[in-house]
């Protein structure tokens, strides 16, 4: 299947559009901002529904607890800030007030991955998937482009009933998926079929994996590409099929290789279908400043890095 880039667009923009679309359909949707409302794409909602938007200031712990209280009273709160602050600063509030209460709060974690760029390590969320997916009741979604981010956000708000963490990026990246795509939370998408190896990607890395697969094909390696847009609940079925039909599974994410997508896939396959799993991502280190593309390249997270790693692992 061929994918074409409709033009670069940040996934945070898709998130913002999704929040607005959901809010237009359901007046229970309320928003909370932590000073960086525009930067995380919530401005569309805040401008359209000023009476349903709460400015909470630079106070993430309170914002999350307040969101839980709103949810306990029948609202559908959407709180967005940078992933580093949402998942880590307010982690205890998410664990207790949101997850233990099992209330429907949608948390948007912006600025995921090293592609945040020049802001550097403090603002690049690289452990948020790990921190969120271990929490009981939590759903973790990481859409691959702006179009998918919009669809996923709308569904997360209108169809989920418990806590949701959504992750998206800052950089304008290829927007390539179909706006009429079939998208089901918890059901991964087969983006490209292949018979030799499988690349399981999430977020921005789906495009990179598809580009890598093209190069690999030219070199005689048939790579299957899976878009694991939902990391929890993990789609085990598609992984079992990949483990049965291809001989090695690679995971690729803008996240630590411990605890994130790679961790989740390795846990699942080691229990259900042991096969070699190679995790590509950040290996126990922080990011740094630089242009998004420079950083993706430096850490081997671009298509070229994926190809190189596949060759190494296949002994070519």
């Amino acid at each position: 299947m061929e994918y074409t880039n409709k033009g670069n667009k940040p996934t945070k923009t898709g998130f913002g559009e999704g929040v607005l679309a959901a809010a237009q359909q359901d007046n229970r949707v309320v928003g909370l901002g932590a000073d960086i409302t525009n930067s995380v794409g919530m401005n569309l909602f805040a401008e359209a529904f000023p009476n349903r938007f709460f400015s909470m200031g630079i106070a993430e712990q309170d914002a999350v607890a307040t969101a839980a209280g709103l949810a306990l009273s029948g609202k559908i709160p959407v709180f967005s800030t940078y992933g580093v602050f949402a998942a880590h600063r307010a982690n205890d509030q998410i664990r207790i007030s949101v997850c233990y209460n099992n209330v429907h709060v949608v948390i948007g974690g912006a600025h995921a991955g090293v592609s945040v760029g020049p802001d550097g390590a403090t603002h690049q969320a690289l452990e948020d998937i790990a921190a969120m997916r271990v929490l009981p009741n939590m759903t973790v979604i990481s859409p691959c482009d702006a179009t998918q981010a919009k669809i996923a956000t709308e569904k997360a708000i209108l169809e989920c009933t418990g806590p949701v963490y959504m992750r998206f990026g800052r950089e304008a990246v290829p927007d390539f998926t179909d706006e009429n795509q079939e998208f089901k939370i918890g059901k991964a998408q087969l983006m490209r079929d292949g018979t030799d190896i499988t690349i399981v990607a999430t977020g921005h890395e789906v495009w990179e994996a598809l580009e890598a697969a093209k190069t690999l094909e030219q070199k005689g390696i048939s790579a299957r590409v899976i878009n694991m847009h939902t990391i929890k609940p993990l789609d085990g079925e598609i992984l079992m099929k990949a483990a049965n039909e291809t001989r090695m599974v690679f995971t690729i994410e803008e996240h630590q290789i411990a605890g994130g997508l790679g961790g989740a896939v390795a846990e699942y396959l080691s229990e259900n279908h042991p096969i070699k799993v190679v995790r590509i991502g950040m290996d126990d280190r922080f990011g740094e400043s630089g242009q998004a593309s420079e950083l993706m390249h430096k850490f081997g997270l671009d298509a070229e890095g994926i190809v190189r790693r596949v060759f190494t692992e296949l002994g070519k």
């Binding site: 009476n51 200031g57 712990q61 914002a63 839980a68 209280g69 609202k75 509030q93 007030s97």
Partner: protein, 277 residues
């Protein structure tokens, strides 16, 4: 409305339920649970708009117990108010019980509005409930905007997140929110002013834009008056700083922080129950 004598009787009964349940459980927090009894009694029997026969009645006011470790006072008051049978108090902290060591929302215990136990979160949750109630306007059930009450500890004032919410609640003019601070001046390591000074507490809350009322937390009429004043206040939230004595009602353990996280033995229980009268 119940007269003072009636309230005193209720309070004594709730203390008895708490002590009996804690002795049966073999672990838990006696001191704080006992010192909040007078406040809970006035709140549930003379102030809240609620309906124990219809716990989810949409016109209800809500109570958030931010200091989850004092769960026994909440459970005992709910039972005494008729939300569930008092016999269930004997399941406190036991396997499968709805009366978890710290309140759990998972079991949908009638009258319980949220889980709690990690200090510093309850006020934020209460603010969310207050904002939702203000958005919804006067409830069709009661004809008024629902009120939210949040019970906090004094040691809990050391949590930074309390002050995030203090700022936010004033900013959003949450005048249907009333916080009550259990100022017993004790925490696990000792006196609050020795562990981490929180005074001048009134000045702090005033500076954050709150309507502050200081009362004797064991004087039923002062509690009643403070709640009525909170109700009338418009444009800003109210905090009631209630001076209390840890372990109140059982003189032999009063004002002793050893009783923060200790429970009576079966033998002590008889003596303590006698001390109540």
């Amino acid at each position: 409305m119940i007269g003072l004598q009636g309230l005193e009787g209720k309070a004594k009964h709730i203390r008895k339920l708490i002590l009996t349940a804690l002795a049966e459980a073999g672990s838990g927090h006696t001191g704080g649970s006992l010192d909040l009894v007078d406040i809970f009694t006035v709140l549930y029997f003379n102030h809240l708009r609620h309906n124990p026969q219809n716990p989810l009645w949409e016109g209800r006011d809500k109570v958030v117990l931010s200091i989850g470790h004092t769960a026994p006072v909440l459970y005992a008051t709910l039972a005494a108010a008729g939300y569930f049978l008092e016999d269930e108090m004997l399941t406190l902290r036991k396997l499968g019980s709805r009366l978890q060591g710290h309140p759990s929302y998972e079991f949908r215990l009638p009258g319980l509005e949220t889980c709690s136990g990690s200090l510093g979160q309850g006020l934020g949750v209460a603010l969310g409930m207050a904002l939702a109630a203000k958005m919804d306007g006067p409830s069709t059930g009661s004809g008024t905007v629902n009120r939210i009450f949040c019970i906090m500890g004094d040691g809990e004032q050391q949590e930074g997140s309390v002050w995030e919410t203090a700022m936010a609640a004033a900013h959003h003019k949450a005048d249907n929110l009333c916080a009550i601070i259990d100022r017993n001046r004790l925490q696990i390591d000792g006196g609050t002013e020795k562990v981490m000074a929180i005074d001048p507490l009134k000045d702090k809350w005033t500076a954050f834009g709150w309507h502050v009322i200081e009362i004797d937390g064991h004087d039923l009429s002062q509690i009643q008056m403070a709640l009525e004043m909170a109700d009338k206040e418009q444009g800003r939230p109210t905090v009631i700083i209630a001076d209390t004595i840890m372990g109140k009602g059982v003189p032999s353990i009063e004002d002793n922080n050893q009783w923060h996280g200790k429970v009576p033995t079966k033998e002590q229980l008889t003596d303590f129950l006698n001390e109540l009268s």
